[in-house]
């Protein structure tokens, strides 16, 4: 039987169902795993995604022809059954399950296996062929318990607030920022001071709240006076680093929440005071566990540490290969 999914110049393509998954060029029918910019792009005629990602997608892609599905809901397209299953990556993120004649393929998009109160947890879907990401596909990437990370963030914030300086935490505006907000609320950080969000983060917070995700109270910069600002936790996208927007905070301590912070050199390169290891992606053990849980005998690696993962899985006895994709590793490096 021919492969259910193949790599085409415009993106991953299912010939039997005549649709693409996260294409990077305009196509007729695009199934979108999640709303990060390198996976959801404008210009396609029809879109299919989860109902939970609808608001973010519309906010980012504008007026698109979008059909939504609930997690687990199944539709048929040209004789192929499609359903979307939680990927645990960000709000609305899905793995795409594709079935025809008893053969099942799953395209993971991006995923993580660690708990995250702002999105549905990763669901292992049994399949014959699993198309996986490998952003952090090296054994050096092992995430600490997120609860400990949030306790560290709160400890850092509290120490800064007591010393009278703002705490600026860089984090990707969609997904990471909201996870941090929920996490520090659970870690008891609410009494340290006000939480101030950059406009890019605030817009996404609003979408999360409208979708029914509970987040602590946040404020915009203009709502907080200079005295209170010295106790504030400021969430800003990495692109805000070094911009005039930061000058209003005066003396500050800065930090970055990302899986890349696992390596000291990555933090020191950015000359940051702190690096908090917190990722939207699976770590090495998470990738191994997720791949094993699918029961797939064939694995195709799309982006990140591709040659390493292919060789490793091959040595574990799996039929492993790679798809060349244009999922943007630079964007992943900035936010993951």
């Amino acid at each position: 039987m021919p492969d259910l999914v193949v790599a085409r110049p415009e993106g991953l393509y299912c010939p039997a169902g005549d649709f693409h998954v996260d294409p990077w060029r305009s196509v007729d029918r695009a199934v979108i795993t999640h709303a990060h910019a390198d996976h959801a792009r404008t210009g396609s005629r029809h879109y299919l995604a989860t109902s939970q990602s609808e608001r973010v997608l519309r906010a980012r892609l504008g007026d698109i022809a979008l059909q939504t599905l609930e997690y687990g809901e199944r539709i048929a397209l040209n004789g192929v059954a499609i359903s979307l299953h939680p990927a645990g990556h960000v709000l609305g993120a899905a793995q795409v399950r594709i079935e025809r004649g008893g053969e099942v393929w799953v395209a993971s998009g991006d995923y993580k296996t660690d708990p995250d109160p702002t999105c549905a947890p990763f669901e292992a879907v049994r399949c014959d062929t699993f198309i996986t990401e490998s952003t952090f596909g090296l054994p050096i990437y092992r995430w600490p318990d997120p609860a400990e990370v949030f306790a560290d963030v709160v400890g850092w914030w509290r120490a800064n607030a007591d010393a009278g300086r703002a705490s600026v935490l860089y984090c990707y505006a969609f997904g990471k920022a909201q996870r941090v907000l929920a996490g520090i609320a659970m870690a008891g950080g609410r009494d340290c001071g006000p939480i101030v969000c950059h406009g890019a983060v605030d817009n996404l917070n609003e979408v999360y709240r409208q979708t029914g995700v509970s987040l602590p109270l946040t404020q915009r910069v203009d709502d907080v006076d200079a005295v209170a600002m010295r106790r504030a936790l400021v969430l800003a996208p990495p692109s805000a680093a070094g911009t005039p927007w930061l000058r209003r905070f005066g003396e500050l301590s800065d930090a970055f929440a990302s899986g890349w912070m696992r390596v000291r050199g990555a933090r020191r390169r950015r000359a940051l005071d702190r690096g908090f290891v917190l990722s939207d992606h699976a770590d090495w053990p998470g990738l191994q566990a997720a791949i094993a849980a699918t029961g797939a005998s064939r694995v195709i690696v799309t982006h990140g540490q591709v040659p390493v993962m292919v060789r490793w899985l091959g040595e574990q006895g799996l039929d492993a290969s790679a798809f060349a994709t244009e999922y943007d590793e630079d964007a992943a490096e900035a936010g993951a």
Binding site: I140, R264, G265, D273, R274
Partner: protein, 543 residues
């Protein structure tokens, strides 16, 4: 180890000097003397002899992590630091102990003489009782090289504050503290922080070196040239010759005792009056002039100093300062006064191995600038400018007066980036170390090809490195382990201090201290320099 690990994390988590001093103060307040002795040793730059060869460490760490060797290597490439790589990949410990730093050093030192299978068993047991930070530091203790943004000066200041005595006194006592082979203990640490008595800690010790600053402003900003004493900047090994109690010691600026490497200087030292300390430059001196640094390098490289070597490459000390005369510390006296004492000393003690660094007195900076152009033919690096009233300070401090180095501009060449390798430390996983090539005529077909001639990794900003890194990833031709060859597309202006013929290099030449001066985005690859341009810099007649 937990207290030391906490100190390390605190030092690592701040870029402010006061934050680091606070962290050191907290550590010294609670640490036991034996632990503090070793913490000082490592933070001040001490590197013990490697207790376990890196090859074995790598083998055992790979085994303990249960990873295939290729995957461990991939991890190392991404992290760029061996100790950190191992800390990342080992499985979690079964129980975590809290053994002090001094005891850890003792444990690790004992591995040096142990049989490989004992080393293996002990390392496995040690790794099983250390958390992430503990493992990372334990491997750093074996391999040395902490790089936590703490300078020796900062440690000196923290110790001075802790002991309540002057930082200069601490700097003096720290001399020799970080020797390879040093074994600091509680008693040594007590002596380090004991109240000041005015007595010399050790008769053989030199004074802390006063270091010069690079002159970056126009020389005219220094004011009247008559306020300055000007000498050539010698290209050799900075050293202090210490003559006391009928014996003598020769110390390099790296605080290495090198008396035995230079028997002619040792003989000179024994002829000098007791209580003499000269600051100067060791050079090879022959036919009444200084010889190229390469000669000195050759001489240092020889294991055995044969009579032939001593005759062909005789060493001399070019003296430029006198720190102690007749047992009296002159460092607080003004530069010109110390100079008078030095001249008198040299006059009284004529010796083939002792040269006085001449003063050059010209009326204007313009004339100095013109004379400075002769530096290369004179085999010097430019001028040293010393304020007439400068005291002899400690390290790079400027409070005691100033020494400026006014170096000649480097030789430059426009070269093409042909290979790239990932960096270390904060450049881990970025392609930041490059090999450069120039065009060479191909005798066979009259065409041109690129010949690699130098490696360089410094001189670019972080933003430039990020851009170059992205281009390297997009233009990779082949990967050889950690090295990538790239399609030639980027031209850089390289600067270097000296150039010489070298049969060991493919290009036939070797350059000294190559670094990137700027990225020539404006320049196409075809217009990069040629090997002929480069060899012209040798200053030889064409062959």
């Amino acid at each position: 180890m937990k207290a030391f690990a906490r100190l390390y994390v605190e030092l690592d988590a701040t870029t402010s000097t006061s934050g680091k001093l606070d962290a050191l103060a907290r550590y010294y307040a609670i640490a036991g003397e034996a632990d503090a002795a070793w913490a000082t040793y490592f933070l001040a730059g001490g590197r013990p002899r490697q207790a376990v060869p890196t090859k074995l460490l790598r083998e055992y760490a790979t085994e303990f992590s249960a990873l295939p060797a290729w995957l461990f290597d991939e991890c190392y490439q991404a992290v760029g630091d061996f100790a950190e790589t191992v800390a990342h990949v080992l499985p979690p410990p079964r129980h975590v102990s809290d053994v002090g730093l001094a005891e850890w050093v003792g444990r690790l030192m004992s591995l040096r003489t142990a049989e490989p299978d004992i080393v293996r068993a002990r390392l496995f047991a040690y790794w099983d009782e250390l958390d992430w930070n503990g493992r990372f530091l334990m491997l750093k203790l074996i391999g040395g090289g902490f790089r936590v943004g703490v300078s020796r000066l900062l440690v000196t200041r923290a110790l001075a504050a802790h002991a309540g005595i002057d930082a200069k006194e601490i700097a003096q006592r720290l001399i020799g503290y970080t020797h390879i082979g040093a074994v600091p203990d509680a008693a040594i640490f007590r002596a380090l922080v004991a109240p000041a008595t005015g007595a010399l800690a050790n008769p053989g010790h030199p004074y802390p070196f006063f270091l010069a600053q690079q002159l970056t402003n126009p020389v005219e900003t220094l004011g009247d040239p008559r306020d300055w004493m000007v000498e050539w900047k010698w290209d050799g090994i900075r050293a202090q010759l210490v003559a006391r109690r009928g014996d003598c010691w020769l110390w390099s600026r790296g605080e290495e005792l090198i008396t035995e490497r230079f028997p002619e200087l040792a003989a000179l030292g024994r002829r000098l009056p007791d209580g003499t300390v000269i600051d100067g430059e060791i050079v090879v001196w022959r036919d009444g002039r200084v010889q190229p640094f390469a000669d000195l390098q050759t001489r240092i490289g020889r294991k055995k100093l044969t009579p032939r070597i001593l005759a062909d490459m005789p060493a001399a000390l070019v003296a430029y300062d006198l720190l102690e005369c007749d047992g009296e510390d002159l460092r607080a006296r003004p530069q010109h006064e110390r100079r008078e004492h030095l001249e008198a000393l040299v006059a009284r003690n004529g010796d083939a191995a002792l040269e006085l660094s001449p003063l050059i007195a010209l009326p204007t900076w313009t004339q100095y600038a013109a004379l400075r152009e002769q530096s290369r033919t004179r085999r010097v690096e430019g001028f040293m400018l010393k304020r007439r009233d400068a005291r002899y300070g400690v390290g790079r401090t400027r409070s005691d007066g100033t020494w400026w180095k006014w170096k000649i501009d480097p030789m430059t060449v426009d070269a093409v980036l042909v290979y790239a390798q990932r960096g270390h430390g904060r450049r881990a996983s970025l392609y930041s170390d490059y090999t450069f090539a120039v065009w060479a005529e191909d005798a066979d077909d009259g065409g041109r090809r690129l010949v690699p001639f130098a490696k360089a990794y410094s001189g670019l900003t972080d933003e430039e490195i990020a851009k170059v890194d992205a281009i390297i990833r997009k233009t990779t031709i082949e990967k050889f382990g950690p090295v990538r060859s790239v399609t030639p597309s980027m031209v850089f202006e390289l600067g270097f201090e000296a150039i010489q013929r070298s049969p060991r290099h493919k290009s036939g030449i070797a350059v000294r201290f190559p670094r990137m001066l700027r990225w020539r985005i404006d320049k196409p690859v075809d217009e990069a320099d040629t090997l002929a341009n480069l060899t012209a810099l040798l200053g030889e007649p064409p062959r």
